[in-house]
Symmetry: D2
């Protein structure tokens, strides 16, 4: 295999590019021809199995670079339609397609034609692949579209997923899956009937640091987890947002951001909780006329762990996941944020206490999640976070609301729909591939 | 302006998508038609001046989201050819084009045809735009190519820049600019003669955290900077790498990574140093037969600051920039790394000492740098880091080597070629636009 | 006021100390007599109001030093007897007397004569002031003893406090106050009857960082607190320790370390909770035959805050207090530890998120607490944490056990015994003096 | 060996203390006599070799407590006279005697009689042991005084050490040792002639975190150190301080705080530098009429390390020691401060980069240093930091000033006076005992 530089001397280059160099006039004079000694070979990488790889060039005390990305050629990637052009799509999801390796953006559905037209131009989506919310039939006819990513308000998820399934497309649906467990069941059924995959966009289950926490907890090096704290708070204003309308949002802080605590703890342990207690508070504020501001709930897990979860629309943004285990403590700051995760391990180190922060490679979470959906389509696998995963959270959120209403402990049943029998991850598909 | 959701009720949707929904059978039953009360309007953003914007929906104590990206449509972006497909291109630069907003990748030059062919497919570069190192003439004929990014070993920069200029293309050249000041002068001259822009890829001058440090230091809120420490170290192995060959690298740690210290301190202050002292050490190790391992140098600036810079190929990766000023200390951990910058401000807060870490939005540095080049081309401006900036560093690196050789203090002259007369930033163009 | 150095030249010194200097021979020759110019005056501090003070000599950007300590002369300090020579006394409390400014150690009571004799010698306690647990009558006769610090197992607190009160001495009693609310009431009554002060050793209410958190929360600069997390965990072994015996400890993790969470949250807000939910778990382990391992409980406060508290004897030591407020988050790492507190404030700073760690002066917590008791005795004031504060926690711990047993929400009554009409700090005395 | 609690039931206690308990009336009723079952034994520690020890009661994942301190009985401790009652004595040194285990304060010398009288009362020093600076003869006659701690301005150290040696007392002298190498030689000679020990108060060589850094660097687990940065800066005001007078201070930032960098690097490596370069800067400010503000210097060590040191009186307080080694980076924040040291280890951990902060037990540095002097006197050993250590720094500081003056590299000779031949620590005595 020829290397770019193996046989290259500056002389060689000048001969090869001579005509061009001559054109700019005389500059060669600054670099006299070198001696005839053939230089040592220089490594320029290997091409193997459709990837370029390089030998590690760093000393053993530094992390080796990850292998270079090997994106699929555009024509082999899975084409996605994105439905809904609100903040999340514009700020996060559409830009993330620039970092996917197996997916591409090929169509848009929106209720705002002007916005859709502008955005389509920005992202190179063909004008004929831009539609209103009545465009599912057109999607059905577009062979470039293999999957639909539903990014509309929660209260519309059910209908949009049904429409996408009806169009015969695989579906990636934002969380929370729906406004109710009943809606979630209908969505699972519709996708099953239509023979399409359904994945809920639990991006943290694809995010590298969250996965490392799961790996550390389940790997057991710190012993049994005893107590878990999950906090997800932010502040709100702007009364005209759909998140504050019950019909569109399904609830307040709980389904929107408290869900990260709930799903995060479940995904971490792999177990399902057996009991829940909860408290809800909302201030006298028109913002919270329809939905709740603050929820605190406690989950009891069969293996012995207790998890305390806190969520609020009324507190400065904090997004922490912390695990107190027998042999150490694991904290993930910004666990549920779009970026800025910080993994901190506290453990004894002889006579001292170590607070070890581990910097992992950073990846765009949305790109990881979208690529996982693409991989599942390309390889015909079940997504890690299928509809069943979303349904279980809907059932649990309904139990949390009940617990808060009654003040008592609500006993929880095993998951209603499962993918496997195993002791863990009953509502989940196989673990996703590693990032990068 | 119509909004996607303003007039939308779930009923509306179902009518609109009715035919499709019917196809999946009966699922509507789970969601009974809602009452006829028209829901409150829901914000869905504005389209203004070719951008989509949304009102802030977070409370005042949380950071508002940045406006959504507004990428240029693909057909209006500046087309780049990348020359050289080594690690840096494969691992960082080619992926970064997925995050640029004004640039696109349209051609490749490489000495390894197999590698080039594979990579072109991965990144959607047309086969006819893939060339060997003798392909500058072909670039000249390709109107899609407006700029050339030179990512070859340092010792080839001069010839490749000359070739690109000869092809009539604007040039973005990796740092260090060249193996010598003489080569750098030739490159500036060639680009001037050819009437093309020349920018040196000092990515840190475009990186958000480094720019914030500069803003803080120059803004004066912490008073005069007195002492600066810049450290850039990493470890090496693999004798077959061009970085260890003098003809290809021009030197060892100094031009490769010590340059970040040198350029970082200069860019921070905006001033030029007036004197330098230096020490060089290299162990008995075949890796360092041709190039140096470790350099420590001290720069004296006219305004009163002293900067101590440390660089080594023989120490675990550390990339710190620290400023001790009258009123506080500013430290940027991972200052020169591709990611992971941490900005830390130490200052008095009443009776306590505050160590304040500020998390800024994270952007891909290479994308910022490439977009700056594209902006300069689109708007016909001078780049922030033109060839003159690179030349000044080449001159200073030659002075550092001389200081180390003689053990004495080397006096430094004002920059040889400047863009402006002002007291600061003599070798630089206007400040780049803000990121995202 | 004469200064040590104002009029001092090296010559002056040599004359003054001349005879002595001559004795070591000839060394003066190395320092020739200086010129007769009188040097500028040099600051050496002021003596005012029984304190030495110095003007600040640091620039405005550095914290000024605290005024030098002004310890009371030994003969004016309050004499303490320490009852119980277990780990806490030996490791923390006796050494802390070296850092008190108003208290001194003058007597010991212990059940281990050999240990008591050795310890008395180490700390300069007179042999005649060392007694067995039957020594309260001897304490009564010793005028040097003004206060008794009870550091015996919890189950003995009631009897030892009664004995100390019976001896007519003021009482400082370790936390938890007792094994039950009934015992706590008896202790308050006994001290009232005897006309002696009773303080419970809630050291965190005297510790600088915890007090700063309280100041920040109550000061309102971060708005209303919405959610609070308090975690206090550690691991246990050694079955032969009194903490694992119900009769001696009164319970497991809850009264021993969970009490810090409970009291910490109450002291932070100044309010009293109105409802509590709880969960308890203990593994199959002989260590936990008599007492519980793990408790999670949630407190509801009238002003709107919810607090989730976690404590365990089965998890690596973590001692965190975190407050999520409208305008920022306040975290105190190692909140309940003997040392190593870290105060972290998260808040928005323009477009960035600031994580500000504030280093406060460090003080020995036990010395602060003991000095507070001494101050209250010297000035005849009520302690910040009197018996009423301890009683309220005993009542709440009984409610937590009840909530865990029933699974329901337990409604809480206002404090049974109060010092003031509130609105805040009903069970507390005046705020303690500032440290240092 | 009897335990305090082994045989103790609550009944036993009540019998023993019965009369007393009866006096407070009826409270026993709250605690009914317990059943006759003899409770399990409870651990209460051992008395062995003059120490109390307890078995570890924490689980294996938590740090065991250090053994309880075993202070020497007061009458066996080494009696110290403190000479000079400026800020350092009042703020740090006198309070530190409350934390020493082998030393006690027994006499004071000061030029301010009022101040001395007040301070003596506060610290329990007998009035007859309080003198002016002419009191060395009185010290000579006082058998309680075994050692003298010289805490006067630098320019007086020589004469005060000579006076103390002349009085036949061992000497602990603050750093910098003197105003010149010549003075330092005279001090060593005088103490040798008088047959007394001389120790220079390099407290960081006794401080736990600094010692841990030395242990880590020399232990080699991170490979060879290549580059070291030492920064010690603070800001100044108050023209009337002796630190700004050349005759009293001997220089500016260099001898006062830059010395920590110099001595810190030397103590870390154990080696002596072979060459030095330096730069000095001082602003136009009356504060710096006599002494320098800012010094940057670079030291070359025979083993291959380069050290860059920065010190200034004109920059916000920063006191960092950082080591870049082959296999990792070691940073000690607040290295040279009185408290707040933070030890941070950066190293690769698989695919991630770990930033591991290790919390060590905290000890008062002055108490450790004073106790080391006491130990050396009690055991007739050489101090770790004798006069020879101080002399070497004086010689090196003179070389730094020369290097700054000439702009060239100053070659350095081996230490002039040494304690041993070994490859390392030529100017030092045996390593000090471990703290607590």
């Amino acid at each position: 295999m020829p290397d770019d530089l193996t046989l290259l001397s500056r002389r060689t280059l000048m001969l090869a590019g001579g005509a061009t160099l001559a054109a700019v006039g005389g500059a060669q004079g600054a670099s006299p021809p070198q001696a005839a000694v053939k230089p040592a070979p220089v490594d320029t990488g290997r091409v193997e199995n459709g990837r370029v790889t390089f030998p590690n060039w760093r000393g053993p005390s530094d992390r080796p670079a990850a292998p270079p990305p090997a994106p699929l050629p555009p024509e082999r990637r899975v084409g996605f339609a994105v439905v809904g052009l609100g903040r999340l799509s514009l700020e996060e999801i559409l830009p993330a397609f620039g970092q996917t390796k197996k997916a591409k953006l090929v169509a848009l559905l929106s209720g705002s034609p002007d916005k859709a037209k502008l955005v389509a131009a920005q992202y190179g989506v063909k004008p004929e692949a831009v539609h209103g919310y009545d465009g599912f039939a057109a999607l059905a006819r577009n062979p470039e579209v293999q999957a639909v990513y539903i990014v509309t308000p929660n209260g519309l998820h059910r209908d949009h997923v049904l429409a996408a399934a009806g169009a015969g497309k695989h579906v990636l649906c934002e969380k929370p899956m729906a406004n109710s467990a009943a809606e979630a069941r209908a969505m699972i059924d519709a996708c099953a009937t239509a023979g399409v995959k359904l994945m809920i966009a639990y991006r943290c289950q694809y995010e590298t640091h969250n996965r490392e926490v799961t790996r550390l907890v389940r790997g057991g090096q710190y012993g049994k987890p005893k107590l878990i704290e999950a906090v997800n708070t932010q502040t709100m204003s702007l009364p005209e947002q759909w998140r504050l309308r019950r019909d569109l949002a399904g609830g307040g802080a709980l389904p929107d951001i408290g869900l990260y605590c709930l799903n995060g703890v479940r995904a971490l342990l792999g177990e399902e909780p057996v009991a829940v207690q909860a408290q809800i508070r909302s201030p006298e504020d028109p913002l919270y006329r329809e939905v709740e501001e603050t929820v605190a709930f406690t989950l009891r897990f069969p293996s012995g762990a207790l998890a305390q979860c806190n969520t609020s629309y009324g507190a400065h943004e904090t997004r922490r996941l912390a695990v107190q285990a027998e042999g150490g403590a694991i904290t993930l700051e910004n666990a549920f944020a779009y970026e800025g995760q910080r993994l901190i391990l506290n453990h004894r180190e002889g006579r001292s206490e170590a607070r070890e922060e581990r910097a992992l490679p950073v990846h765009n979470q949305f790109a990881l999640e979208i690529d996982h959906m693409a991989t599942c389509i390309l390889e015909d696998r079940s997504p890690r976070t299928p509809g069943e995963e979303g349904l279980q959270d809907q059932i649990l959120m309904e139990a949390i609301y009940e617990a808060a209403r009654t003040g008592g402990t609500v006993a929880l049943k095993p998951p209603e729909r499962t993918l496997q029998k195993g002791p863990l991850d009953l509502t989940r598909g196989p673990a996703p591939e590693d990032a990068g």
